[in-house]
Subunit: 236 residues, 6 copies
Amino acid sequence: MSELTRDGLERLAAIGTATLSMQLVKRGIRRHLIAGARPLMPGQRIAGPAFTLRFMPGREDVATPESYTAAGGLPEAVEAVPEGAVVVMESHGVLSSGLLGDILCDRLRIRGARGAVTDGAMRDMPGLRRVGWPVWCGGLTPPPSIGDLYFAGWGMPVGCGGTAVFPGDIVVADEDGAIVVPAGLAAAVLDGAVAQDAFEQWVIAEVAGGRPVTGLYPPTPAAAEEYERHRQKLRG
Amino acid sequence: MSELTRDGLERLAAIGTATLSMQLVKRGIRRHLIAGARPLMPGQRIAGPAFTLRFMPGREDVATPESYTAAGGLPEAVEAVPEGAVVVMESHGVLSSGLLGDILCDRLRIRGARGAVTDGAMRDMPGLRRVGWPVWCGGLTPPPSIGDLYFAGWGMPVGCGGTAVFPGDIVVADEDGAIVVPAGLAAAVLDGAVAQDAFEQWVIAEVAGGRPVTGLYPPTPAAAEEYERHRQKLRG
Amino acid sequence: MSELTRDGLERLAAIGTATLSMQLVKRGIRRHLIAGARPLMPGQRIAGPAFTLRFMPGREDVATPESYTAAGGLPEAVEAVPEGAVVVMESHGVLSSGLLGDILCDRLRIRGARGAVTDGAMRDMPGLRRVGWPVWCGGLTPPPSIGDLYFAGWGMPVGCGGTAVFPGDIVVADEDGAIVVPAGLAAAVLDGAVAQDAFEQWVIAEVAGGRPVTGLYPPTPAAAEEYERHRQKLRG
Amino acid sequence: MSELTRDGLERLAAIGTATLSMQLVKRGIRRHLIAGARPLMPGQRIAGPAFTLRFMPGREDVATPESYTAAGGLPEAVEAVPEGAVVVMESHGVLSSGLLGDILCDRLRIRGARGAVTDGAMRDMPGLRRVGWPVWCGGLTPPPSIGDLYFAGWGMPVGCGGTAVFPGDIVVADEDGAIVVPAGLAAAVLDGAVAQDAFEQWVIAEVAGGRPVTGLYPPTPAAAEEYERHRQKLRG
Amino acid sequence: MSELTRDGLERLAAIGTATLSMQLVKRGIRRHLIAGARPLMPGQRIAGPAFTLRFMPGREDVATPESYTAAGGLPEAVEAVPEGAVVVMESHGVLSSGLLGDILCDRLRIRGARGAVTDGAMRDMPGLRRVGWPVWCGGLTPPPSIGDLYFAGWGMPVGCGGTAVFPGDIVVADEDGAIVVPAGLAAAVLDGAVAQDAFEQWVIAEVAGGRPVTGLYPPTPAAAEEYERHRQKLRG
Amino acid sequence: MSELTRDGLERLAAIGTATLSMQLVKRGIRRHLIAGARPLMPGQRIAGPAFTLRFMPGREDVATPESYTAAGGLPEAVEAVPEGAVVVMESHGVLSSGLLGDILCDRLRIRGARGAVTDGAMRDMPGLRRVGWPVWCGGLTPPPSIGDLYFAGWGMPVGCGGTAVFPGDIVVADEDGAIVVPAGLAAAVLDGAVAQDAFEQWVIAEVAGGRPVTGLYPPTPAAAEEYERHRQKLRG
């Protein structure tokens, strides 16, 4: 899977999803957006390997209160999440039932998981705010997951927000939203993003100084060369 | 209809929609979410009997500025809302026209209505903020209700956010969203929710102390018994 | 086109979209809402003539990183935006790709454009917040515009949020959302809105004093006459 | 309400919705389409005064099998439909429950109703085909109306397919779809449509003869005059 | 799982989904509709135990032409389908990629599978028509499954058309659409449906004879008793 | 642009969109589906270079009956369509207004255009059937284009059904739907499709003979080799 160190993950989170996304497009991965996953609390950003949970549409005879305590139920899944993971939840786009509430989120926090990402909904916002664990989701809703959903296990590939997420893929989330970086591309994407980020810092300063963007951003070969000279000088 | 006292309503609002929703699912009422009704201002929570308004898609010859002042128009409906009511508005999911603005909301506030709940839109946010009356809705929009809607009366059952709401049903709304508690179930739901809330407070403390959630939440019979002993001790 | 002065534009923005929208409905223009354009930052309001950009669904062979620097590309469009303009962007409702990020927005700010309005998405929120330039949009997303869109030029009529916007039409945006005022109607709409706004200030005071809304708002002929007397007195 | 004779209704149906729709647009009624109502059987066309039924989202405690036989239930509504009426049903866009099946449709046929129009769904297609009564709807589905809906009465204005329909308005439906003609406009719309239809027959022949459409359709004043001469000659 | 014989399955298919659906609602299973699954060819009806395939949103690096021939790929799944099964496919509502074409459908036909049911799309309609194997789906589309989807295995519970389907549940499909009958309820639903169907045949005849539906359909106790006498007489 | 001969276009149409679509995916063009364009009449298939029309959301002051006869209006566009073209129409997904009716379609037929493709709606189905000109569209609707749309010109790139279509791109449509083949890829896609089609004919015969699909379709290297030997023998 991914060979990114903890430091590499922190750099991914710091650079941010917008820059990483451009790197993915350049590598032919256009379908990497986890659409509909919005930050629940301001100012958080995370990156980490995906641990997947699968929810699917329910039915009255199986999505029962008793199903929570059955073998293979949601609490067991929570206790299987490893430290450092990002919990990615398939919801089939159902926003009328909340996948997790404050109690399970607090347990995940204590277990060391970095946060949760889903296109589905969460519940009990006052409790979630108290816990403060990072969550990206499609909304808030009072009903529990068994209202309209059935918990169908963990650890398999999932579809989330219109893209595939495999266990171990790197999920990055910030104020712009959440994306998946295929595990095998994570190192290359990080390298490309670091370079792009440095270039954009230079562009930001140039633009702030009144320079037009034509030919500068994105750069023509001439602007790329100019930046290269600027970069050499800085290092020099 | 509902026999809840003012105190009972306040306890419903304080316990919150997430806990009440689980009690409704346990009683076979899965369809109780007023989907799309989001709080317009932070930190508000209300519970009260529904007073219903019905808006439906309009047409240029009937949804005219003159229709506001016709007999049976919106201002008359506003003056029919009793103290303590929650105004529930059927919108047919139209988000391009605002059902109420600051002036009618201020009048409703002065009349003693507790707040408004709709899956439709509101308008004039600066004015609504000034008034401060609690509103749950599907969004904000500049056009008036006659833009795309027609006001079709009050006091009948309405469909709102995908569920039925009858006059006198108890509507509860907080940060998670809005739900309807059928009038005849309100007392039982309150009792169940008080017990569930107490149990969850105990679970929250256990989890904060590092206990895994498997077998604890939702509780196996063993955990339920342990909680019972804990509860007895507290009382003892 | 529009003959509104800078002062007229400021008054349009100050009066707000809700009041202007009612004036447009009264003049037979019901389709003036730019649906889905929400303010990205709190408390901003703008009015100005539209400068249009057109994005359309992309395709892997044309929506390439190289397309940015081709003749007629997005940076050229940015450098064509005149001072005082509101940049209106057709997005075909695509919310998975961001039309503009912080760098282009900062350039537009420096060029004197008043803000941007679109039913599409933007990207790089931390940067956008730093720049502080007013934006109304349908959301935030990490991918760049070439992810799912193709930039197809500027200066033509565009469809945005379900209505037509022509270059030079007046676009007004505030907390309620964004609307278009056809250029030829702008002066009349402003006049009507000023009168309506004054009337509503009187109504707000009457309602705050405990007066019922029936017959008052919207006004019956009697109430309109009463207001007229009030207005005469004030002018004295 | 409408003063159209049976013959006038038959002419409305024969001319067809496309021509009538243009007449409504010309009279300022753009919102007259009952969107989503498609013909269930080929080759049928109807016109008649609306008789309205209202379905709204249901709830497990009220949308019960017993609700069918309660006072004010669906069978009573069926027995209230007068001869010649078009049954228009508000469905809130729910397509997962069928409003009517073959038995109630056969009863409506026997009572002399002209057909049914809804944006909701119907059920039991083999039976409906056997009965052969004209239906325009949003689809077919196995579940009964109580699956997801609640029957809320008859005889009130309803919202259907995005427009308002009042009892007595003239509803016309054919292969293109279904529209509502406000009762007060029906006679004028019919007159205009007869003239438009005659003009288009002339245009069809001209185009079949190889004539370009520029200036012909829609007609410039010159073409309108040419047609007028043609019309005089025919009469002559 | 289900203990229905081949004969029982044929009777389920013959009675039809509308009648079965009412029996499921009466047993508290409202969520049994596989929404969006429409018959591809006229006049077909099937019932059989579900064999499940799971498709999820794809990604360019995994949804490749090569993925078809990998271990666990779609052809292997086809060869695992047992005789008599109904192939139920989870599609996440994606209608832009076709799950199966004519070649795989012909192989499934030869293997003895009864048909396929999905809310997703199929492809190559001329070939599918030639094969003639029963299919219920959400539409037709040219692109192959790898266009926007990833095949993620078989034999697990799936979400399809808004409900849960478990391997071995009985899926019934006809002109009205497709539904799932939980395996454990199939025998009871069949019994109830046979009785309901006989009652409705009597009602159809009564209505054809001119009898009003009030009190007859659904039956009041008096009508139920009348039918019982009629039934006794027939048997007698 | 495309260098395909008339014969090449006929072969594209004969091979069909499903096979062409796989060839596009293999060449990295996943976004080529014109989603929502369904055949209006059975059994038609076309291929030809795109001639584009652009409709966008309208507004009461510009989408007037008079706009049809203005310079640059729809009739002029019709007279600009060259022989052999496929008319591709951008509709912004609006299905409530019909882009073309029978008169303009008959003129296009007479001018030699091959057919029309759009994700929008058409109107006057009886007339369209009489004309018999091939049309792929998103539905039928009575209102004219000026109901909810504005005609904004021709000859520019358009977004249709979620993909970009440039004038001169090859559009192919059949029973499965409609796709765009970028002009520069058309020859290569045709070659690849011819080979794929021949291979699939062999597979169809093998499967009909009872052969399992594993390893055969899609082919492993061994199966590809076996087919190659078969092909040589046939030629031999």
